[in-house]
């Protein structure tokens, strides 16, 4: 760690991991509700559990991004953070706001929560992934503004590198696109149209900038490859991400009432969305192959390569699978979408944040470069447990989605939704088992932080 103020990232990462655990616990509950419909009913109905599951994901990834940025920007800028106090204050504001929201979800019916928080004044609640009360959304904006101010001041007074510029651009984009969550037209079609400006332009747009920057940072640090080379790659990857991703939004405009030409535009451009992810895979492997030194933190390198591969598989391959409009016509809104969503989020964003944590945490905890060999081995176990179980979750959901599409959407006598759900129950059971393995992997991951021993050397 070069600068004292970088350690402000530590609470962010700890909170991120804590919320990650919560997310997975609720994921396991959801999986069980798929096969035991009355599980925890009516105390925690499915919709509440799902809301907790997805919102925790978003919030902990944001914590992860923020922590990463607080660590990365001072180091790249070669200066102390503008205000570590502000960073800590915002941490608590964000954590409390997030916790209160989750408590709100779990303690009162959603409609009551809407009433209490005055949703009638400016209705923004009740849309997928943006379920948080309007006041929480305002809180997020305030936290984001303070966060960007803090980092912006640091960025402006120090050295400006490509990595820090791209990260700042991604974070600003993230904040700007979030503003569309306040826009909720009364017309459902327009509502959906602009809702995607938040959701799609986040995960298939500006978040890719963040992911690219974080990956590039870790690769520079662990491989010692020339900065010039890595930065060129970074620019080219994010160029491809936005060139394909912006019009690629069109693959959400197939069936929501928008004009027919989106069928063509969405298919063509989103078919190319795997390209930037493939480049990321090549990037990670190329840089590791060309490494000038062996870094003692082997597990961070493992995460870096893992995120390259899994992002390509989850976002690229699984996304491509159902992005062409004639295929999407039958698969839209089935378990195939869920399969894609799980692997894409895990591969692209979860793994890149874990990669950052893996690289920075030993440094913030006072080590010279890496954890002990034993600790790293334990963490590698968690890597494989989580990654392999996620692959299986994805495969089972894919099978479920294909069967569901066939039975419910194709053939001469399509079956009703609930009938089909019973027929694919077996896949849900298998998914649940894989989910439990994932949870075990997560526990192993946390255990790895408490494994002591001599610091590893090359």
């Amino acid at each position: 760690m070069k600068f004292e103020s970088q350690s402000v990232a530590k609470p962010y990462f700890i909170a991120a991991i804590g919320l990650f655990v919560g997310q997975i616990l609720f994921g396991v509950i959801l999986g069980l509700q798929y096969v035991m419909g009355d599980f925890l009913f009516p105390e925690i109905p499915f919709n509440v559990a799902r809301m907790v599951h997805t919102n925790l994901l978003i919030v902990w990834l944001l914590f992860g991004f923020m922590g990463s940025a607080y660590y990365l920007i001072p180091e790249e800028s070669e200066t102390e953070l503008h205000s570590p106090k502000l960073a800590l204050l915002l941490f608590w504001v964000f954590l409390v706001a997030g916790a209160l929201t989750i408590v709100g979800y779990l303690s009162v019916p959603y409609a009551t929560l809407a009433k209490i928080t005055g949703n009638d004044l400016l209705p923004t609640m009740g849309r997928e992934f943006l379920e948080m009360p309007t006041i929480t959304k305002v809180g997020v904006v305030i936290v984001a503004l303070g966060f960007l101010y803090n980092l912006g001041m640091t960025f402006l007074k120090g050295r400006k590198t490509v990595i820090s510029s791209v990260l700042m651009l991604g974070l600003i984009g993230l904040a700007v696109m979030f503003l569309f969550s306040f826009y909720n037209p009364e017309n459902l079609v327009r509502d959906k149209f602009y809702w995607w400006w938040v959701v799609h332009l986040w995960v298939e747009g500006v978040w890719e900038l963040i992911m690219g920057a974080l990956l590039a940072f870790v690769l520079i640090k662990t491989t010692g490859v020339d900065r010039e080379v890595i930065e060129k790659w970074l620019y080219l990857i994010i160029a491809m991400a936005l060139i394909t991703g912006i019009i690629g939004t069109g693959h959400h405009y197939f069936w929501i009432g928008t004009p027919e030409y989106w069928l063509v535009l969405g298919s063509v451009f989103s078919a190319l969305e795997p390209v930037p992810f493939f480049m990321m895979t090549l990037f990670a492997f190329n840089m590791v192959n060309k490494r000038r030194r062996d870094h003692p933190n082997k597990v961070a390198v493992l995460w870096a390569m893992g995120t390259g591969v899994m992002a390509f598989l989850g976002a690229g391959v699984w996304g491509f699978m159902h992005t062409l409009s004639p295929i999407n016509y039958v698969t839209h809104g089935t378990q195939l979408t869920a399969a894609h969503g799980h692997m894409a989020f895990y591969g692209a964003y979860v793994m890149v944040v874990l990669c950052m944590i893996s690289y920075t945490m030993p440094l913030m905890r006072g080590r010279a470069a890496a954890n002990s060999n034993l600790s790293q081995v334990v963490e590698m176990w968690s890597f494989w447990l989580m990654t392999v179980s996620m692959v299986f979750i994805t495969l089972f959901l894919t099978a479920a989605g294909i069967v569901q599409s066939y039975l419910q959407r194709m053939g001469d006598s399509p079956l009703p939704f609930m009938v089909v759900q019973e027929k694919i129950e077996i896949f849900y059971w298998m998914r649940e088992v894989a989910g439990l393995v994932f949870l075990i992997g997560l526990v192993v991951y946390i255990v790895s932080f408490f494994v002591k021993g001599e610091e590893a050397t090359v």
């Binding site: 063509v264 190319l272 390209v275």
Partner: protein
């Protein structure tokens, strides 16, 4: 290509005109257009009647003028690069301007064509053939405009960017031109 010079055979990339980054983009752009053409072809064979009727309404002479204009623009750009290499800035500027003028012919003819079709009641939505027609040609038109922008940028910044930058810009322009040469027979003649 067996008869390339030995240097090129050793490292083909060093002989690539312009920046490798641009060639990656060129491949990506060609892929976009290739997919669009394939989609168009599939739709054509599914709705043959409709597409043939639509095609009959297109003015092939406009397409011809555009083709000639773009081929000329490419020629002017190539010649401009040659002048730049031989350190003849005046001719370089002249030919680059000629390229832009040729491209402008394209833009004018295309817009006139659009105007004509819109007046006849066709647009981006409605008739399937014209949806594709406007999507593909419109997308190409935007590329031509971008290409013109790049050429003008190069003209003003020629000292700054040098031969490498000029070759990069020229490669992009040739790609735009190439796309039209495929687009023209597929959309107009067939």
């Amino acid at each position: 290509m067996p008869n390339t010079s030995s240097v090129a055979a050793e490292n083909p990339m060093t002989k690539l005109p312009g920046d490798l980054a641009m060639w990656v983009i060129i491949l990506a752009e060609l892929s976009v257009f290739a997919i669009l053409f394939l989609v168009f072809a599939v739709q054509f064979s599914l709705n043959e009647e409709l597409f043939k009727q639509g095609q009959a309404l297109l003015d092939t002479r406009a397409g011809l003028i555009i083709t000639l204009a773009l081929l000329s623009a490419s020629y002017f750009v190539a010649q401009a690069v040659a002048f730049f290499e031989r350190n003849q800035p005046k001719y370089f500027a002249l030919f680059l301007l000629a390229a832009c003028a040729s491209a402008l012919v394209y833009v004018v003819v295309k817009l006139a064509e659009y105007n004509h079709l819109v007046e006849a009641g066709f647009g981006l939505s409605g008739n399937k053939f014209f949806t594709y027609y406007f999507l593909i040609t419109g997308f190409h038109l935007l590329h031509v405009l971008l290409g013109m922008g790049i050429l003008i940028f190069v003209l003003f910044k020629r000292r700054h960017i040098g031969l490498h930058g000029l070759n990069t810009a020229a490669s992009y322009w040739h790609m735009v031109d190439l796309v039209w040469l495929v687009l023209f027979p597929i959309l107009y003649l067939l």
